[in-house]
Structure formats: C-alpha cells, structure tokens
C-alpha cells in the first residue's frame, strides 16, 4: 500500500497534482501535506488527477474537501480528473459531485478551472 504524489506546474497559473495508489487513513496525511504546501505558496487553482488512484476512503475525501475549502477562501478552485468507476461512485453517493468539478481528462479539468 502506498501513495505517490507528483506536483507539476501547468500553464495558466495553476498546478496539477498527480496521485497514484491508495488514499486511506495511513496515506492521506502525505496527500494533505502536498496539497497544503502548494496552497501555502499562493496557488489557488488546482487540478488533482485521480486517474491512477485505485482506492479512496473518507479520510482521502476529507483531504480533498479541506483543500477545496482553503482555495475557495482565496477565490480558487479544485477540479478532479477521475475515470475509475468505483471512485466516481464514492463521489456520487456522498454528493461530492456537486461541490467538485469532476472530469474525464486533464485537458477538460484544466479548461474548466475558474
């Protein structure tokens, strides 16, 4: 069980966070730290790519919600890239599809950033 986090700068004053692996109570602090560091640098427009995430639980969702709350305080936004049906289902049943922008591709997520 592991999580890999890669942060890269993208055109348009935004950053992409690539996550790979499983996000649970053990690994979510690493994701929280990575997202927090970017926001601390003053970046408020993020795309978080979940295409290579095999599993996420409520602690992972909590980290994403926390990041979204922080950037929204600065007029920012977080869009997600998610193609895994099981993970999309978790966002559906928790109602988080209504607060995150969820896209099938990174291009679409980037274009939709406010």
């Amino acid at each position: 069980m592991d999580i890999k986090v890669n942060v890269r700068e993208a055109p348009g004053d935004c950053y992409v966070v690539d996550l790979s692996g499983e996000i649970d109570v053990y690994t979510s602090p690493k994701v929280k730290d990575a997202i927090g560091e970017i926001i601390d640098r003053g970046v408020y427009h993020l795309v978080i790519n979940l295409e290579k995430v095999r599993y996420i639980d409520s602690t992972g969702l909590g980290v994403l919600i926390g990041g979204l709350k922080r950037v929204r305080e600065h007029g920012g936004s977080v869009n997600l890239v998610c193609t895994n049906p099981q993970i999309k289902k978790i966002f559906d049943i928790t109602g988080l599809v209504k607060i995150f922008g969820i896209f099938e591709s990174e291009d679409a997520a980037m274009k939709a950033l406010v």
Binding site: M1, D24, V25, D57, S58, I65, K89, I93, T94
Partner: protein, 142 residues
C-alpha cells in the same frame, strides 16, 4: 487474490490487527479475499473493502491505540457478515476536542458504511468500545 471456490457451509474467518493506520490495508485485503471466495462481484467486493476500512478508521480515530481491532467474517451461501470490534475505552470526542470538519468527515465514513452494506448495526460505547456488525448479501450480479 485466491480463485473463487464453492462455499458449501458457513465458515468463520478471524483477524486481529493493531489499532494503527498502517494495518487498515491488511483488513481491506483480507475481507476482499473472503468476499471473492463467495463470488461477490468486483463492485460488491470494493463496497465491502471500503466499509471495513471505514469501520477500522473510526476505531483508530476514537480508541486508545494500544488496543487491537478484531474482525470476524462469517460466510454463508448468500451473504457475508462482518463484525468489527475493539475492546478499548474510547477517547471522548469532547476530550479530544475534534473540530466540526473532522466530525463531518467521520460522519461521512459512517454514511458510506450504511450506504454500501445491506444491514448495519453500530454501537459505540465509551466504556466497551465499538461493536459494528454489517452484512453484504450476494446479489447474483456476478
């Protein structure tokens, strides 16, 4: 993961893990293996994995970390019954002074368990710990 096999009788699988975050993945894998043997669909196996992980996470976040988490999986021909228990005294939410956001996320975990499983009874007592029983039925969609 093991190949599915015919379940012809009720079986009992027990696992005890330390009450720490790094062991939750093992609990997930163990219940997934049991559900796979019952020929649950991939989607239902994922549901069971998440429900068990949420139950373990709730225990870890509220119990004293010295205690173990006991998982019991009872199989039958058409269902998987999972019991998650810890025997530790819980650190009260007031004593731990959790904030509103943390409480909401904890509520999300319980919501997921109740949504993904077919039957759930959930008892959290500050003195006796957590006792969660959940059932996932074989829906014949495999």
């Amino acid at each position: 993961m093991n190949q599915p096999v015919e379940i012809t009788a009720e079986d009992l699988v027990e696992l005890r893990i330390p009450c720490r975050a790094e062991w939750v993945a093992l609990a997930r894998l163990a219940v997934a293996a049991v559900a796979n043997r019952l020929r649950f669909s991939i989607e239902d196996i994922e549901d069971v994995k998440l429900a068990v992980a949420e139950a373990c996470t709730a225990v870890i976040q509220h119990a004293n970390h010295g205690e173990a988490i006991a998982l019991t999986c009872e199989t039958s021909l058409d269902a998987l019954r999972i019991r998650v228990r810890d025997a530790g005294r819980h650190v009260g939410d007031r004593a731990r002074s959790i904030d509103l956001d943390e409480a909401r996320i904890a509520g999300l975990g319980v919501f997921l368990i109740r949504t993904l499983m077919d039957e759930v009874t959930y008892d959290v007592d500050p003195e006796t710990g957590t006792d969660l029983v959940m059932v996932k039925r074989l829906h014949g969609n495999h």
